[in-house]
């Protein structure tokens, strides 16, 4: 039974696209048949983070409007063959997505894949509501910072009221993914702690992604961080989050950077 997963947050810039790519790739590496779908019509970026920007021919809007077949628009990942991308359109706006069209495309994707991972645009408007519309599972990406937590609270409210599942009186599985976490700053009382955010938002914790240089390094080269440097702290955090998503019970911890002698001496990666 296919699962539709939405990666959402309300606030922009908290790491939705990075998380979609990392989680999609890790799910695919775990043997699942995965498609990552970019719902950010007009401001697409998932193609860039996945390193597929030069292979985009057709996009989600073309498929929704019936101008292209689903198979024509899907881009198979070159590194993991069970991973595909359905890019967003760059030239259109979010009004080009119709509720009926999105429902049909998500239905077709359910038939083809085990996981349909929808990368939501920021905001609470049409693009975001359509991205979460057919979700069975939601990952709420939050930074330990007041505006992000407030927006996440709003999004959680929408997941409980505006999704197809909510309207049918069913439950939608919600998980918190805390990104850009800095254990040192949290310990010193300069940043909201994991427990603070958990207490306020009151949804189960899927993972804590440490603030790390590896995330930018991976996006620079267009590779999900879980594929680019699997032993890095954020990659391990994402991989563990994915194992929890697949039903494994593992304690949540903040993976730490493993520093070698050279990086300890010079304070940066030598490679």
């Amino acid at each position: 039974m296919a699962k539709v997963l939405v990666v959402t947050s309300g606030k922009g810039g908290v790491g939705k696209t990075t998380s979609t790519a990392a989680i999609g790739a890790a799910l695919a590496q775990a043997g699942q048949n995965v498609v990552v779908v970019d719902f950010d019509v007009g401001l697409r970026n998932l193609d860039l983070i996945m390193g597929a920007e030069r292979r985009v021919v057709y996009d989600l809007v073309n498929v929704v409007q019936g101008d292209a077949k689903l198979a024509q628009a899907l881009i198979r990942d070159k590194r993991v063959d069970t991973l595909s991308l359905l890019p967003a359109s760059q030239t259109r706006d979010k009004d080009a997505l119709t509720p009926e069209g999105v429902e049909r495309v998500v239905g077709d994707l359910r038939d083809k894949f085990d996981w349909v991972v929808c990368d939501s645009p920021a905001g609470i408007e049409r693009g975001a509501t359509l991205a979460m519309r057919h979700a069975d599972v939601a990952i709420v990406v939050t930074n330990p910072e007041v505006s992000s937590v407030r927006d996440s609270d709003r999004i959680i409210g929408m997941l409980d009221s505006k999704t197809a599942r909510a309207e049918a009186g069913e439950r939608i599985d919600k998980h918190l993914l805390l990104t850009r976490y800095d254990t040192g700053r949290a310990t010193r009382g300069e940043m909201l702690k994991v427990d603070d955010v958990l207490e306020i938002l009151a949804i189960p914790l899927l993972g804590i992604i440490p603030d790390s240089e590896d995330v930018l390094r991976a996006s620079n080269v267009g590779c999900p961080v879980t594929l680019h440097n699997p032993s890095s702290a954020p990659a391990r955090a994402y991989s563990e989050a994915v194992r929890r998503l697949l039903g494994e019970a593992i304690d949540v911890s903040v993976p730490v950077e493993r520093k070698g002698l050279m990086s300890r001496l010079f304070g940066r990666k030598v490679a």
């Binding site: 007041v146 609270d153 709003r154 949290a186 009382g189 300069e190 909201l192 603070d196 306020i200």
Partner: protein
């Protein structure tokens, strides 16, 4: 500033936590009725306008959310001569 101030830097995270808890308690209570102040303004105006001719621009409705007490402040500037509305 003493040299100890460096070691006793005020911790800002507890403040963030408190502000959020307070704010979200109120926002959840409103539950989609974020236009409460505007709705109140319209309805209060309608009631008063039945009796006194008032300038719509001189009405101010403010909601202030505090820890233990929230206040609703309605500020209506009366015209110089209180002229009753003629029916």
């Amino acid at each position: 500033m003493s040299i100890f101030s460096f070691f006793s830097r005020p911790r800002s995270a507890p403040i963030a936590r408190e502000r959020l808890q307070l704010l979200l308690a109120h926002e959840r209570a409103l539950n989609g009725r974020s236009d409460l102040a505007a709705v109140l303004q319209e309805e209060i105006l309608a009631v008063i306008a039945r009796h006194i001719a008032i300038d719509r621009d001189k009405v101010n409705v403010k909601l202030d959310r505090g820890g233990s007490v929230s206040t609703l402040e309605i500020d209506i500037e009366m015209p110089v001569s209180l002229s009753p509305v003629k029916n």
